[in-house]
Protein backbone atom coordinates (compact mmCIF):
# COMPACT_ATOMS: atom_id res chain seq x y z
CA UNK A 1 0.00 0.00 0.00
CA UNK A 2 1.06 3.55 -0.72
CA UNK A 3 1.41 6.33 1.82
CA UNK A 4 -0.75 9.49 1.89
CA UNK A 5 -4.48 9.82 1.54
CA UNK A 6 -5.00 12.70 -0.87
CA UNK A 7 -4.91 12.35 -4.62
CA UNK A 8 -6.74 9.58 -6.43
CA UNK A 9 -8.53 8.36 -3.31
CA UNK A 10 -9.76 11.84 -2.48
CA UNK A 11 -11.10 12.40 -6.00
CA UNK A 12 -12.69 8.94 -5.89
CA UNK A 13 -14.30 9.81 -2.56
CA UNK A 14 -15.70 13.05 -4.00
CA UNK A 15 -17.07 11.18 -7.01
CA UNK A 16 -18.52 8.52 -4.70
CA UNK A 17 -20.35 11.18 -2.70
CA UNK A 18 -21.65 12.85 -5.87
CA UNK A 19 -22.86 9.59 -7.44
CA UNK A 20 -24.41 8.29 -4.20
CA UNK A 21 -26.15 11.63 -3.58
CA UNK A 22 -27.44 11.74 -7.15
CA UNK A 23 -28.78 8.17 -7.09
CA UNK A 24 -30.34 8.31 -3.61
CA UNK A 25 -31.55 11.88 -4.08
CA UNK A 26 -33.02 10.89 -7.43
CA UNK A 27 -34.76 7.89 -5.88
CA UNK A 28 -36.18 10.01 -3.04
CA UNK A 29 -37.27 12.77 -5.43
CA UNK A 30 -38.86 10.33 -7.86
CA UNK A 31 -40.68 8.60 -5.00
CA UNK A 32 -41.98 11.95 -3.77
CA UNK A 33 -43.18 12.87 -7.26
CA UNK A 34 -44.96 9.55 -7.73
CA UNK A 35 -46.48 9.81 -4.26
CA UNK A 36 -47.67 13.36 -4.97
CA UNK A 37 -49.27 12.11 -8.20
CA UNK A 38 -51.01 9.30 -6.33
CA UNK A 39 -52.26 11.75 -3.67
CA UNK A 40 -53.58 14.08 -6.38
CA UNK A 41 -55.38 11.20 -8.10
CA UNK A 42 -56.86 10.12 -4.75
CA UNK A 43 -58.08 13.68 -4.10
CA UNK A 44 -59.74 13.77 -7.51
CA UNK A 45 -61.40 10.41 -6.90
CA UNK A 46 -62.51 11.59 -3.45
CA UNK A 47 -64.29 14.53 -5.13
CA UNK A 48 -66.67 11.96 -6.59
CA UNK A 49 -66.78 9.85 -3.44
CA UNK A 50 -69.97 8.83 -1.58
CA UNK A 51 -69.67 11.88 0.69
CA UNK A 52 -69.71 14.19 -2.32
CA UNK A 53 -72.47 12.19 -4.03
CA UNK A 54 -74.64 12.29 -0.93
CA UNK A 55 -74.33 16.08 -0.95
CA UNK A 56 -75.58 16.12 -4.53
CA UNK A 57 -78.30 13.59 -3.69
CA UNK A 58 -79.40 15.81 -0.78
CA UNK A 59 -79.83 18.69 -3.23
CA UNK A 60 -81.82 16.35 -5.44
CA UNK A 61 -84.02 15.40 -2.51
CA UNK A 62 -84.93 19.09 -1.99
CA UNK A 63 -85.74 19.46 -5.67
CA UNK A 64 -87.83 16.31 -5.52
CA UNK A 65 -89.85 17.62 -2.58
CA UNK A 66 -90.66 20.83 -4.46
CA UNK A 67 -91.22 19.47 -7.97
CA UNK A 68 -92.06 15.80 -7.88
CA UNK A 69 -93.55 14.75 -4.55
CA UNK A 70 -97.06 16.01 -5.52
CA UNK A 71 -97.41 13.06 -7.88
CA UNK A 72 -94.76 10.58 -6.71
CA UNK A 73 -95.42 11.02 -2.94
CA UNK A 74 -93.05 12.49 -0.39
CA UNK A 75 -91.19 9.19 -0.04
CA UNK A 76 -91.26 8.55 -3.83
CA UNK A 77 -93.29 5.38 -3.34
CA UNK A 78 -95.83 6.66 -5.86
CA UNK A 79 -99.27 8.28 -5.81
CA UNK A 80 -100.64 9.57 -9.10
CA UNK A 81 -97.24 8.92 -10.56
CA UNK A 82 -95.34 5.63 -10.28
CA UNK A 83 -93.05 4.40 -7.51
CA UNK A 84 -89.53 5.64 -8.26
CA UNK A 85 -87.62 3.14 -6.12
CA UNK A 86 -85.25 0.80 -7.89
CA UNK A 87 -85.40 2.47 -11.30
CA UNK A 88 -83.78 0.41 -14.03
CA UNK A 89 -83.73 3.16 -16.67
CA UNK A 90 -80.40 4.83 -17.52
CA UNK A 91 -79.46 8.23 -16.07
CA UNK A 92 -79.83 9.80 -19.51
CA UNK A 93 -83.29 8.27 -19.97
CA UNK A 94 -84.42 9.57 -16.56
CA UNK A 95 -83.07 13.05 -17.35
CA UNK A 96 -84.84 12.89 -20.72
CA UNK A 97 -88.17 12.13 -19.05
CA UNK A 98 -87.64 14.98 -16.56
CA UNK A 99 -86.81 17.32 -19.45
CA UNK A 100 -89.54 16.31 -21.90
CA UNK A 101 -92.15 14.84 -19.60
CA UNK A 102 -94.60 12.14 -20.74
CA UNK A 103 -97.49 13.22 -22.89
CA UNK A 104 -100.73 13.22 -20.92
CA UNK A 105 -99.05 11.90 -17.79
CA UNK A 106 -96.14 14.06 -16.66
CA UNK A 107 -95.25 17.70 -17.36
CA UNK A 108 -91.95 18.88 -18.84
CA UNK A 109 -89.42 20.42 -16.45
CA UNK A 110 -87.16 21.70 -19.24
CA UNK A 111 -87.62 25.35 -18.34
CA UNK A 112 -87.63 24.84 -14.58
CA UNK A 113 -84.66 22.58 -13.98
CA UNK A 114 -81.07 23.00 -15.12
CA UNK A 115 -78.79 20.11 -16.11
CA UNK A 116 -77.16 20.09 -12.65
CA UNK A 117 -80.61 19.93 -11.04
CA UNK A 118 -81.56 16.94 -13.17
CA UNK A 119 -78.32 15.20 -12.26
CA UNK A 120 -79.02 15.90 -8.58
CA UNK A 121 -82.50 14.41 -8.98
CA UNK A 122 -81.05 11.33 -10.63
CA UNK A 123 -78.53 11.00 -7.77
CA UNK A 124 -81.36 11.19 -5.27
CA UNK A 125 -83.44 8.63 -7.17
CA UNK A 126 -80.42 6.30 -7.36
CA UNK A 127 -80.06 6.59 -3.60
CA UNK A 128 -83.57 5.21 -3.08
CA UNK A 129 -83.65 1.58 -1.99
Amino acid sequence: MKRGFFGLEFIAALLAVVVASAVVGGALGAANLVRAGIEKARTEVAAGSPARLSEIAAHGQKLFAVNCSHCHADDATGDEGPDLHGLTKSDERIKGIITNGIKGEMPSFAKKLQEADKEALVSFLRSLR
Binding site: G4, L15, V24, R35
Partner: protein, 145 residues
Protein backbone atom coordinates in the same frame (compact mmCIF):
# COMPACT_ATOMS: atom_id res chain seq x y z
CA UNK B 1 -50.67 -9.93 -16.05
CA UNK B 2 -52.16 -10.31 -12.59
CA UNK B 3 -48.69 -11.23 -11.42
CA UNK B 4 -47.28 -7.91 -12.61
CA UNK B 5 -50.15 -5.72 -11.45
CA UNK B 6 -50.66 -7.27 -8.04
CA UNK B 7 -48.47 -6.81 -4.98
CA UNK B 8 -47.13 -10.36 -5.12
CA UNK B 9 -44.45 -9.74 -7.71
CA UNK B 10 -43.07 -6.83 -5.68
CA UNK B 11 -43.21 -8.80 -2.45
CA UNK B 12 -41.33 -11.61 -4.17
CA UNK B 13 -38.79 -9.19 -5.65
CA UNK B 14 -38.27 -7.42 -2.32
CA UNK B 15 -38.01 -10.63 -0.34
CA UNK B 16 -35.61 -12.11 -2.86
CA UNK B 17 -33.33 -9.17 -3.56
CA UNK B 18 -33.18 -7.51 -0.16
CA UNK B 19 -31.01 -10.28 1.25
CA UNK B 20 -28.29 -9.65 -1.34
CA UNK B 21 -27.09 -6.31 0.06
CA UNK B 22 -27.55 -7.51 3.65
CA UNK B 23 -25.49 -10.67 3.26
CA UNK B 24 -22.98 -9.47 0.68
CA UNK B 25 -22.12 -6.19 2.39
CA UNK B 26 -21.33 -8.08 5.60
CA UNK B 27 -19.25 -10.65 3.74
CA UNK B 28 -17.51 -7.95 1.71
CA UNK B 29 -16.44 -6.06 4.83
CA UNK B 30 -15.18 -9.28 6.43
CA UNK B 31 -13.25 -10.31 3.30
CA UNK B 32 -11.57 -6.91 3.10
CA UNK B 33 -10.77 -6.95 6.81
CA UNK B 34 -9.23 -10.42 6.49
CA UNK B 35 -7.32 -9.24 3.43
CA UNK B 36 -5.88 -6.44 5.51
CA UNK B 37 -4.59 -8.93 8.10
CA UNK B 38 -2.95 -11.41 5.75
CA UNK B 39 0.71 -11.02 4.88
CA UNK B 40 0.79 -13.09 1.70
CA UNK B 41 0.24 -10.62 -1.13
CA UNK B 42 -1.35 -13.26 -3.38
CA UNK B 43 -3.92 -14.37 -0.79
CA UNK B 44 -4.49 -10.78 0.34
CA UNK B 45 -5.31 -9.67 -3.20
CA UNK B 46 -7.76 -12.54 -3.54
CA UNK B 47 -9.56 -11.51 -0.36
CA UNK B 48 -9.77 -7.91 -1.59
CA UNK B 49 -11.03 -9.09 -4.98
CA UNK B 50 -13.69 -11.15 -3.22
CA UNK B 51 -14.53 -8.09 -1.13
CA UNK B 52 -14.92 -5.99 -4.26
CA UNK B 53 -17.08 -8.50 -6.12
CA UNK B 54 -19.39 -9.12 -3.17
CA UNK B 55 -19.70 -5.35 -2.65
CA UNK B 56 -20.66 -4.79 -6.31
CA UNK B 57 -23.12 -7.72 -6.27
CA UNK B 58 -24.68 -6.43 -3.05
CA UNK B 59 -24.99 -2.91 -4.46
CA UNK B 60 -26.59 -4.21 -7.67
CA UNK B 61 -28.99 -6.26 -5.55
CA UNK B 62 -29.94 -3.13 -3.61
CA UNK B 63 -31.54 -1.50 -6.68
CA UNK B 64 -34.39 -4.01 -7.19
CA UNK B 65 -34.74 -4.19 -3.40
CA UNK B 66 -35.20 -0.41 -3.13
CA UNK B 67 -37.51 -0.20 -6.17
CA UNK B 68 -39.78 -3.03 -5.01
CA UNK B 69 -39.70 -1.67 -1.45
CA UNK B 70 -40.82 1.76 -2.61
CA UNK B 71 -43.69 0.22 -4.56
CA UNK B 72 -44.72 -1.92 -1.59
CA UNK B 73 -44.60 1.15 0.68
CA UNK B 74 -46.69 3.08 -1.89
CA UNK B 75 -43.72 5.38 -2.56
CA UNK B 76 -43.48 6.43 1.09
CA UNK B 77 -39.87 7.41 1.87
CA UNK B 78 -40.45 8.05 5.56
CA UNK B 79 -43.49 6.57 7.20
CA UNK B 80 -44.23 5.64 10.79
CA UNK B 81 -43.25 2.93 13.26
CA UNK B 82 -41.21 0.06 11.86
CA UNK B 83 -41.39 1.50 8.33
CA UNK B 84 -39.90 4.76 9.57
CA UNK B 85 -36.96 3.00 11.25
CA UNK B 86 -36.52 0.77 8.20
CA UNK B 87 -36.10 3.92 6.12
CA UNK B 88 -33.86 5.66 8.67
CA UNK B 89 -31.27 2.91 8.21
CA UNK B 90 -32.07 2.08 4.61
CA UNK B 91 -31.34 5.37 2.86
CA UNK B 92 -27.88 5.97 4.35
CA UNK B 93 -27.07 2.29 3.79
CA UNK B 94 -28.09 2.56 0.13
CA UNK B 95 -26.01 5.72 -0.30
CA UNK B 96 -23.00 4.09 1.37
CA UNK B 97 -23.27 0.96 -0.78
CA UNK B 98 -23.23 3.08 -3.94
CA UNK B 99 -20.49 5.37 -2.66
CA UNK B 100 -18.25 2.50 -1.56
CA UNK B 101 -18.74 0.73 -4.90
CA UNK B 102 -17.82 3.86 -6.84
CA UNK B 103 -14.76 4.43 -4.65
CA UNK B 104 -13.56 0.84 -5.00
CA UNK B 105 -14.08 0.77 -8.77
CA UNK B 106 -12.04 3.95 -9.23
CA UNK B 107 -9.26 3.25 -6.74
CA UNK B 108 -8.96 -0.54 -7.25
CA UNK B 109 -5.60 -1.68 -5.88
CA UNK B 110 -4.07 1.82 -5.76
CA UNK B 111 -5.31 2.54 -2.24
CA UNK B 112 -3.21 3.83 0.65
CA UNK B 113 -3.22 2.34 4.13
CA UNK B 114 -5.13 5.32 5.55
CA UNK B 115 -7.59 5.20 2.66
CA UNK B 116 -8.12 1.49 3.18
CA UNK B 117 -8.78 1.95 6.91
CA UNK B 118 -11.33 4.70 6.23
CA UNK B 119 -12.92 2.47 3.59
CA UNK B 120 -13.04 -0.47 6.00
CA UNK B 121 -14.75 1.63 8.69
CA UNK B 122 -17.30 2.84 6.15
CA UNK B 123 -17.82 -0.74 4.91
CA UNK B 124 -18.59 -2.01 8.43
CA UNK B 125 -20.85 1.00 8.99
CA UNK B 126 -22.69 0.12 5.77
CA UNK B 127 -22.94 -3.51 6.90
CA UNK B 128 -24.43 -2.36 10.21
CA UNK B 129 -26.86 0.05 8.54
CA UNK B 130 -28.08 -2.46 5.96
CA UNK B 131 -28.48 -5.11 8.67
CA UNK B 132 -30.46 -2.69 10.83
CA UNK B 133 -32.63 -1.83 7.82
CA UNK B 134 -33.15 -5.58 7.34
CA UNK B 135 -34.08 -6.00 11.01
CA UNK B 136 -36.75 -3.29 10.79
CA UNK B 137 -37.90 -4.73 7.47
CA UNK B 138 -38.45 -8.00 9.31
CA UNK B 139 -40.40 -6.12 11.98
CA UNK B 140 -42.71 -4.74 9.26
CA UNK B 141 -43.43 -8.26 7.99
CA UNK B 142 -43.39 -10.22 11.25
CA UNK B 143 -43.74 -7.59 13.99
CA UNK B 144 -46.67 -8.05 16.31
CA UNK B 145 -47.27 -11.62 15.20
Amino acid sequence: MELFLGANIWEMMHGGSTHLPIALMLVSAVFDALGGLIRSERVRDRFHAAGLFTLIAGTLGAFPAVLSGLILARWEIGGQGALFWHHVFLWPAFALLIGLSVWRLIVRGRRTRAGFLVYLLAAFLAAFLVSAAGFWGGEIVLGGS
